[in-house]
Point group: C2
Chain length 325, copies 2
């Protein structure tokens, strides 16, 4: 910085002001710009962050990036942040409250510009209300914006699609306990069935490690003369829907002729093409853009943000695939 | 920091030294530690980075996180970095040289601790040899470590698996131009076929946007009386193998009875279970750990790192699935 000041013939303070985006005289700015180019000077971001008292980093806390939903969400959030000049620190919490808290502490220590979190731990007490934070799917507290898909409507839409395309015996497949957004998806599904006088059954696995075995046992219990008792399945995650698809195929059940299946998320495995599974689509890119927009809107309001937020509910839609008729 | 110094009864400089990991007297350290706890003081990372002249961030540059391979790689790298106290800035380049260069410039400006890159642009000229960088899959220059799977052996293994399980007419499916690691996978496959006197054909799509249509046209040209000319397919990416699987199923071809398919990567779509596709597995977690290990080993050697590196080639293996017999 001293070299730049010397070459530009201005004070070090003027160079510092210029770099930190404060007003300097037009003539000085031009001289500094020329000197910076000539010297290939790259301003030190740490110094800049110290001056402005916050960094250009945004922390994204998610359970695990290595699933299609979180991979697509992370991609969309980084792209949206990039457009407004922020960098994204990716934090996988593995759904461990301890890890989530460590990331929150880190974010505070780094004086990051903000946090976007999809966290299922009870962290609300640990976040000062003046730290810019946007929650996705799970509320942190009333003091932070929340963006969530219309999960209840998603459950209704899944039931409607299955019934409209001829299913008579419906099944809801998930992992117990059915809580948070899963509970809303289930409730939408059940309410639609009741309203339309359709019977439904639930197939719930009880251990994440044995989902395939539990689903398989359920299928075998409900197979009679090579016919499956149910002809329409709504799984509240694409992963479970895919499990059901493979397990039924292995039993010689035809999909979608004998049994139709609808999942939830419709997150593409590869960017190029839609998933083969019929599913309820969450508008991932829209949710990412909203999160970044809320975060940047909140930035100027630090310290005066005791206001309360209502959840922003974004609409879902049906994504057709090979598993419905 | 002033408050901590006052409460601990030491100078501000001593607190600063303590925070920056320099030696202070044991008695002072204990007092400072107590004061920090009492005041809930969080050291400002920007100030720390400025003092130590490098930050705790590592930049990861990949094409797009939203594919199973990159999602798993990003996850494994962040976990490995976390263990040694580094944070990961995730950068999706979309395979655009311009975006890659912007991320490199950003990394320099932020004085990050290092860069891990899987970049296919010509960026070697733009990186000073003393910036800690580790390349994955594609060499940046001789001055940076490179970690790459044994792609040639992977191509050989795919051919061997198909032939050993009875395939007689082999097909290699990919996207043209076949370059970089794809060229090595192809060469291993072809060499094995030639050595074992097996015929092989190539099916290459020429446009990323029309891969499905091009593969479909190829299949239709080589269908005779509902029989496909080929009975063993090696696709040099799981994505292409999945395309072939769906397209052949749509033509009524049975997989794996009529046609066997092997992909490349064997990256899980969900952490819980292996992919349904038979594939050549890249040891993603091992590659991630090696990258972080090389990066941290390189850190003390800044400025004296004009040494040249030989590539580190990690072994591949076969991952069985539903698409081979």
């Amino acid at each position: 910085m001293n070299d730049v000041a010397r070459l530009a013939g201005v004070s070090r303070g003027t160079v510092s002001n210029y770099i930190n985006g404060q007003n300097v005289r037009t003539a000085s700015a031009a001289k500094i710009e020329t000197a910076i180019k000539q010297l290939h000077y790259v301003p030190n971001a740490s110094a800049k962050a110290l001056k402005t008292n916050r960094s250009e980093y945004v922390v994204l806390i998610i359970p695990q990036v290595n699933t299609p939903f979180f991979a697509n969400l992370s991609y969309a959030i980084q792209m949206a942040l990039n457009q407004v000049g922020y960098k994204m620190i990716l934090c996988n919490s593995n759904s461990e409250p301890k890890e989530e808290l460590e990331y929150i502490e880190m974010a505070k220590a780094q004086k990051v510009a903000g946090i976007i979190t999809m966290s299922y731990s009870e962290i609300s007490d640990l976040i000062p209300a003046d730290i810019p934070l946007v929650a996705i799917e799970k509320k942190v507290s009333d003091h932070f914006p929340l963006i969530v898909a219309d999960n209840y409507a998603g459950g209704q839409l899944a039931a409607k699609q299955l019934i409209d395309s001829g299913a008579k015996n419906l099944l809801f497949a998930s992992l117990a306990p059915v809580v948070n957004v899963s509970a809303q998806r289930q409730q939408g599904f059940i309410d639609y069935c009741i309203t339309h006088q359709m019977s439904y059954t639930r197939c719930l696995a009880h251990n994440e490690q044995t989902i395939l075995a539990e689903f398989k046992a359920f299928i075998q219990q409900h197979l009679h003369a090579d016919q499956f008792e149910f002809d329409g399945i709504f799984a509240d995650a694409d992963e479970f829907a895919g499990d059901m698809w493979h397990l039924l195929l292995q039993q010689g059940i035809r999909i979608p002729q004998d049994v139709q299946i609808i999942g939830f998320d419709a997150a593409q495995v590869y960017p190029r093409q839609p998933i083969a599974l019929a599913s309820i689509r969450q508008p991932i890119t829209q949710m990412a853009k909203l999160a970044v927009q809320y975060l940047t809107q909140r930035l100027p309001k630090n310290g005066e943000s005791r206001r309360k937020y209502q959840p922003t509910i974004v609409p879902i839609s049906f994504s057709a695939g090979l598993t419905t008729r």
